[in-house]
C-alpha cells in the first residue's frame, strides 16, 4: 500500500535534523495560520496561484529563489562549521553521512533552486517588457514551469522530514549513486527533484526561445535587441539543447535504481563513465546557462549607470554566441583524470581556454563602456565592479585548471571548489542581486533601500574573499574537497578563516533581507512614479511601475538599440494615442497548480515505490492537459475604456514626476543626468548643465 514508506522514515538519527524539521514545519504552520487569520487565501488564489501573468510569475520565481538561498546558505555554513571544528583531535558536530547530505544539498539547491529560479524570474519580469510584448508566447506553460519548480523544491524540502536527501554530491556520480552504494531514498529524492525542475526549465527554455524569436515589437531586429534579451536567447538555446541529456541520464539512473538495469552500475558491463559524460554534456552548458543571462544583466547595468551607450554591442553579441557554442565542446575537462589519451585531454583543454577569449572581450566591453561615461555608483554598479575584478580572478584559476597537466594535480581539491565559487558567486550571485535591485522598482513600483544594499554588497564581497582565498590555499596544500574530518593541523588554521568568511557572507544575506524589509516599510518615500527610476534605455522603462497586466497599451515601434532612450531623445516618449483598443489577455487558471501538485505526488510516490499512486498521478497529469484543451475561452478582454483609465493615471504620475520636462533636455543617448541638472528639480546636484560631446 505505501511501498517502502514506513514510520521509520520519520525518525532521524541527528538532533540537528529534528530541530530543522521543527523549524520548517513550525514556519509552515505559522504562515498557514497567519494567512487564514488574515483571510488571504482567496487573494492568493486569485492573484498569484492561478495567474499566468509573466510579471507575477517572475516575482514568485524569485521568492522561491530567496527561500532556497537561505536553505542553501545554511547548508554551506554548516559545512564550513563542521570543517572548522573537525580538525586534529576534534570531533566536529556532524556524522560523515549527514555532512555528505549537506554538501549535496548545498550544491543541488544553489544551482537548481536558487540560481535557476532567480534567473528565470528575472527573465520573466524583464524580457517581455524589453521586447515590447504583452506576455510570453505560452503564458500557461510559463505558469506550469513555475509550479513544477515549486513542486521540485517541495520534494527537496520534504526529504528533510520524511527519509533523507542524497549523499552522492550534487552531480550524483555513478556508481556511488547506484542502489548498491546508496540504498536509501536520498538519491531518489535527488533524481526526481532534478527531473521535475529539469522539465520545468526545458519548458521555460522553449517558451522564452519562442517568445524572443516571435514576440518582438516591430522594428526590433536581432541587432536591436537589448543585451539581456540577447544573452537570455543564448541561454534558452543552451537549455533546449542540453537539458535532454540530463533528463535521459537521470531517467536511466532511475531505472538502474528501481528496475534493476545496469546502465551505470559499474557491474555486469554497466558503464559508470557514461553517466558522467552525459551529466557533464548537460552540466557544462548549464554553467553558461547560469552565467550568460547574468552577463546580460551586467550589460544593462553598466550602460544605464554609466549613462552611455554600451561599448562594442556587436562584439558582445558575437562573444555571447561564441561562448554558447563553445560551452558544448568542453565537457571532458570535468574528468581529465579519467585516464584517456593526452590527445583528447589537450584538445578539450584548449577548447576550454578558448572560452576565455570571448569572455575577456565581454569584460573589456564593460570596462570601455565606463570610459568617458558618467558613472553613478548605485548599488548595481557596485555589484558590477565587484564582479569584474573577482570574476577575472576566477577566470584565471579556471584557465589554470583547463591545462590537463595542472588539473591532474588540482582536480578534486579545494582549489577546484574555490575556483567554481569564484566564478559562480560573482558571475551569478552578484549579477542576480544587481538585477534584483535594478528591476525591483519595475516589478513593485518602489525602489530598494540603498544603505542596506551596500551593507549586503560589502558583506558578500569581503565575505567571499575571506571564505574562498583560504580554499585556494588549502587546495594548494593538498586538501581534497568533501572531507568530514582531517588530521592536518595546518588545514585547520585556514578552515577557521574560511568559516569566518561564511559568517561575513551571512551578514550580507541578513542585510539583503533587511533591505527588503526597510524598503517595504518606507515604500511611500521611494515610489517610482515615472516608471523610469534610473534613466533607463530599454522599453521596460517606458511603461508604468508596476506595469499594467497588458504591459503596453500600444505596442511600441523600435528605432534603435536603446529604444526608449531614442524616444526620449526625439521627444516621442510617453505619447498618448488618439484612441485605445480592447486588449485580449489570457485568463487565470488553476490547471498549472493541479499539474504541479500531481507531479509532486508522483515524485514522492516514485521515491517510496508507491506504484499505484505514481501511476494515478501520471494519468492525472495527462488527463489535466487533455481537459484543458477543451477550454473554449482561454482569454478575456480588457475594454478600451479601462485601458484608457489606467494609462491616464500613469501619464498623470509621469507629469507629476517631471519626466516630461526632463525629456526636453535630453539630447544625446545617455544624457539623463544633464537633463536632471538642467531642469529645476530638487534632485539636482549642480546648477550648470554641460553640453556633451
Amino acid at each position: 500500500m505505501f511501498g517502502k514508506l514506513t514510520l521509520d522514515a520519520f525518525t532521524h538519527s541527528s538532533l540537528i535534523i529534528v530541530f530543522a524539521n521543527v523549524i520548517m514545519v513550525g514556519t509552515g504552520l505559522l504562515v498557514i495560520g497567519l494567512l487564514t487569520y488574515f483571510r488571504k487565501w482567496g487573494y492568493l488564489y486569485r492573484e498569484w496561484f492561478t495567474t499566468v501573468d509573466h510579471k507575477k510569475i517572475g516575482v514568485m520565481y524569485i521568492f522561491i529563489a530567496l527561500i532556497f538561498l537561505l536553505r542553501g546558505f545554511i547548508d554551506a555554513a554548516m559545512v564550513r562549521a563542521q570543517q572548522a571544528t573537525a580538525g586534529p583531535g576534534m570531533e566536529g558536530y556532524l556524522e560523515a553521512h549527514h555532512f555528505a547530505e549537506l554538501f549535496t544539498g548545498h550544491g543541488t539547491m544553489m544551482i537548481f533552486f536558487m540560481a535557476m529560479p532567480f534567473i528565470v524570474g528575472l527573465m520573466n519580469i524583464a524580457i517581455p517588457l524589453q521586447i515590447g510584448a504583452r506576455d510570453v508566447s505560452y503564458p500557461l506553460l510559463n505558469a506550469i514551469s513555475l509550479w513544477l519548480t515549486a513542486a521540485a523544491g517541495a520534494l527537496v524540502m520534504i526529504s528533510l522530514l520524511i527519509g533523507q536527501f542524497s549523499e552522492a554530491g550534487w552531480s550524483g556520480y555513478t556508481p556511488f549513486s547506484g542502489l548498491d552504494h546508496s540504498p536509501s531514498v536520498g538519491v531518489d529524492y535527488w533524481i526526481w527533484a532534478l527531473q521535475i525542475s529539469g522539465i520545468s526549465t526545458t519548458l521555460t527554455g522553449v517558451n522564452f526561445l519562442v517568445t524572443i524569436l516571435k514576440k518582438r515589437a516591430p522594428g526590433m531586429s536581432f541587432m536591436r535587441m537589448p543585451m539581456f534579451t540577447w544573452t537570455s536567447l543564448c541561454t534558452t538555446i543552451l537549455i533546449v539543447l542540453s537539458f535532454p541529456a540530463l533528463t535521459v541520464a537521470l531517467a536511466l539512473l532511475a531505472l538502474d535504481r528501481s528496475a534493476g538495469t545496469h546502465f551505470f552500475t559499474g557491474t555486469m558491463g554497466g558503464d559508470q563513465m557514461m553517466y558522467i559524460n552525459m551529466f557533464w554534456v548537460w552540466g557544462h552548458p548549464e554553467v553558461y546557462i547560469l552565467v550568460l543571462p547574468v552577463f546580460g544583466v551586467f550589460s544593462e547595468v553598466v550602460t544605464t549607470y554609466c549613462n552611455k551607450r554600451l561599448f562594442g554591442y556587436k562584439s558582445m553579441v558575437w562573444a555571447t554566441m561564441a561562448i554558447a557554442f563553445l560551452s558544448f565542446t568542453v565537457w571532458v575537462h570535468h574528468f581529465f583524470t579519467m585516464g584517456q589519451d593526452p590527445l583528447r585531454n589537450a584538445a578539450f583543454g584548449i577548447a576550454t581556454m578558448v572560452i576565455a577569449i570571448p569572455t575577456g572581450v565581454k569584460i573589456y566591453d564593460w570596462i570601455w563602456t565606463m570610459f568617458r561615461g558618467r558613472i553613478e555608483f548605485k548599488l548595481p554598479m557596485l555589484w558590477t565592479l565587484g564582479f569584474i575584478i573577482t570574476f577575472t580572478m576566477g577566470g584565471m584559476s579556471g584557465v589554470l585548471l583547463a591545462i590537463p597537466g595542472a588539473d591532474y594535480k588540482m582536480h578534486n581539491s579545494l582549489f577546484l571548489v574555490a575556483h567554481f565559487h569564484n566564478v559562480l558567486i560573482p558571475g551569478t550571485m552578484f549579477g542576480l542581486l544587481a538585477g534584483f535591485y535594478y528591476w525591483f522598482p519595475k516589478a513593485f513600483g518602489f525602489k530598494l533601500d540603498e544603505k542596506w544594499g551596500r551593507h549586503s554588497f560589502f558583506g558578500w564581497l569581503v565575505g567571499f574573499y575571506v571564505a574562498f582565498v583560504p580554499l585556494y590555499m588549502l587546495g594548494m596544500m593538498g586538501m581534497p574537497r568533501r572531507m568530514a574530518s582531517y588530521e592536518n593541523p595546518v588545514w585547520h588554521f585556514w578552515l577557521v578563516i574560511a568559516a569566518i568568511g561564511a559568517l561575513i557572507v551571512a551578514y550580507g544575506i541578513f542585510a539583503m533581507f533587511m533591505q527588503i524589509y526597510v524598503s517595504y516599510r518606507d515604500r511611500e518615500k521611494n515610489r517610482d512614479l515615472s516608471g523610469d527610476p534610473w534613466g533607463g534605455r530599454t522599453l521596460e522603462w517606458s511603461i508604468a511601475s508596476p506595469p499594467p497586466e497588458y504591459n503596453f497599451a500600444i505596442i511600441p515601434e523600435v528605432h534603435d538599440r536603446d529604444a526608449f532612450m531614442y524616444m526620449k531623445v526625439h521627444n516621442t516618449a510617453y505619447q498618448r494615442p488618439e484612441r485605445y483598443e480592447d486588449i485580449h489577455m489570457p485568463k487565470s487558471t488553476p490547471i498549472a497548480i493541479v499539474i504541479a501538485g500531481l507531479a509532486f505526488v508522483f515524485g514522492f510516490a516514485y521515491v517510496w515505490h508507491i506504484w499505484w499512486l505514481a501511476g494515478l498521478c501520471l494519468l492525472g497529469v495527462i488527463g489535466a492537459v487533455i481537459a484543458r484543451s477543451f477550454n473554449p475561452e482561454p482569454e478575456y478582454v480588457i475594454p478600451a475604456e479601462e485601458v484608457e483609465r489606467t494609462e491616464n493615471a500613469f501619464h498623470d504620475k509621469v507629469a507629476q514626476d517631471g519626466a516630461l520636462e526632463r525629456m526636453k533636455h535630453i539630447e544625446s543617448f545617455g544624457d539623463e543626468r544633464s537633463a536632471y541638472a538642467a531642469t529645476p528639480e530638487p534632485s539636482t546636484t549642480g546648477t550648470q548643465s554641460e553640453k556633451p560631446l
Binding site: A96, T174, G360, R374, I388, G405, K409, P480, P692, L693
Partner: protein, 310 residues
C-alpha cells in the same frame, strides 16, 4: 553625496592607515608570513618528484602569463570607475560613443595571443605529463597494482609478491608504475607531493607513473568522494633509499598471513580509518581477477571452495 562622504573618510584615515601598514610590514619579516600562514605547507609548490615539479612550473608559468590579463583588467576597472565618476564634472563625456574598430581588434586580439601561448603550453605539457607515459630513469621501474576499496587502498607489488594496505614504499629515483582499479565506487589516487592523480574505477584499469627524487614521508589520499569513510582513506608514502626499501619488503614478507581469496573477501568489506596491514604473499593474478569480476558479474569474489574459473 555618499561617494563624497566615503572619499572624505578615506582622506581622513589616510595617515593613520599608512602608519599602521608601515608598522605592520616593519614588524613582520618574510619568515613571519611563512610561519603564520603555513606557506611551507603548499605541497603544490614544494615538490618531491619530476612530475610534480613539471606541474609546478606549468602552474607558475600560466600564473605569470595570466597576470597580463588580471593586472590590466583590475587597473582599468578601478581607474575608469574612479576617473569617470559622475561627481567629477570635468571629464570628457561621450554618451554616444560605442564603437571603435581598432580598439575592438585589440580586445579580441589580446586575449587570443595569450590563449595561443597557453594553448601551446597545454599541448606540450599534456603529452609530457601523460600519466601513462613511463618516466625516464637509470633504475628499473617498479610495478604496483592498487585496488581502491571501501575505505582503504590495497597495494600489490607483483614483482616482490607482497601486498600492503594503506602504505606505499618506493626507492628514490626509481619510477613507479601504478595500475589502478576499484573494488567499489570511483576513487582517485593522489600523492600531492609526487604529482598527478588518476581515477580508479571498477571493471577498468587506469595507469599512473610517479617518481620521488627526494627522500621523505609523504601523504597520499583518495581524492574522489566515496562515502562515509572517505575522510579517513589516507595512506602513508615512504620515499626511501634502496636498502631501506628492501628492508620494507622484507618486513612485509615476514607478515603472518598471505593475501589469498579468503583474506581478500575479509579485507574488501567496508572498514574505516584502517591502519597499515602487511601480507606476506599475494594470490597470483588477483588484480586482473578483480577487474574481471566487475566486468562479468556483480564484482563480488566467491569463497575459495566455489572458485571455478581459476
Amino acid at each position: 553625496m555618499s561617494i563624497q562622504t566615503s572619499g572624505n573618510t578615506i582622506r581622513r584615515l589616510r595617515l593613520p592607515l599608512i602608519v599602521l601598514l608601515t608598522l605592520m610590514l616593519a614588524g613582520c619579516s618574510a619568515q613571519w608570513f611563512v610561519d603564520t600562514f603555513y606557506l611551507n605547507e603548499l605541497v603544490t609548490f614544494f615538490t618531491a618528484g619530476p612530475v610534480a615539479a613539471y606541474q609546478r612550473n606549468v602552474m607558475l608559468f600560466t600564473f605569470t602569463v595570466m597576470l597580463f590579463v588580471l593586472v590590466p583588467v583590475v587597473g582599468f576597472t578601478l581607474w575608469f570607475a574612479w576617473h569617470y565618476r559622475a561627481s567629477n564634472r570635468h571629464n570628457t563625456y561621450t554618451a554616444n560613443w560605442y564603437h571603435s574598430g581598432l580598439l575592438e581588434a585589440f580586445l579580441w586580439g589580446g586575449p587570443t595571443v595569450i590563449i595561443v601561448i597557453l594553448a601551446v603550453l597545454t599541448w606540450v605539457s599534456t603529452f609530457d605529463l601523460d600519466p601513462y607515459k613511463p618516466l625516464e630513469s637509470e633504475n628499473p621501474t617498479i610495478e604496483v597494482q592498487a585496488i581502491a576499496m571501501d575505505w582503504k587502498w590495497l597495494f600489490i607489488y607483483p614483482d616482490y609478491n607482497i601486498a600492503v594496505v594503506n602504505e606505499i614504499a618506493l626507492p628514490v629515483d626509481t619510477p613507479l608504475q601504478i595500475d589502478l582499479t576499484s573494488a567499489s565506487v570511483m576513487n582517485a589516487f593522489m600523492i600531492p607531493r609526487l604529482g598527478s592523480q588518476i581515477m580508479a574505477m571498477s571493471g577498468m584499469r587506469t595507469r599512473l607513473h610517479l617518481m620521488a627524487t627526494e627522500k621523505g614521508e609523504y601523504f597520499g589520499k583518495n581524492y574522489q568522494y566515496s562515502g562515509d569513510g572517505f575522510a579517513g582513506m589516507n595512506f602513508q608514502v615512504h620515499a626511501v633509499k634502496p636498502d631501506a626499501f628492501d628492508q620494507w619488503i622484507e618486513q612485509a614478507r615476514a607478515a603472518s598471513k598471505p593475501l589469498d581469496i579468503a583474506a581478500y573477501r575479509e579485507l574488501v568489506k567496508p572498514s574505516k580509518n584502517v591502519d597499515p596491514i602487511y601480507y606476506s604473499s599475494v594470490r597470483d593474478g588477483l588484480f586482473d581477477y578483480v577487474i574481471k569480476r566487475f566486468q562479468e558479474g556483480d564484482g563480488s569474489v566467491p569463497p575459495p571452495d566455489r572458485l571455478t574459473d581459476r
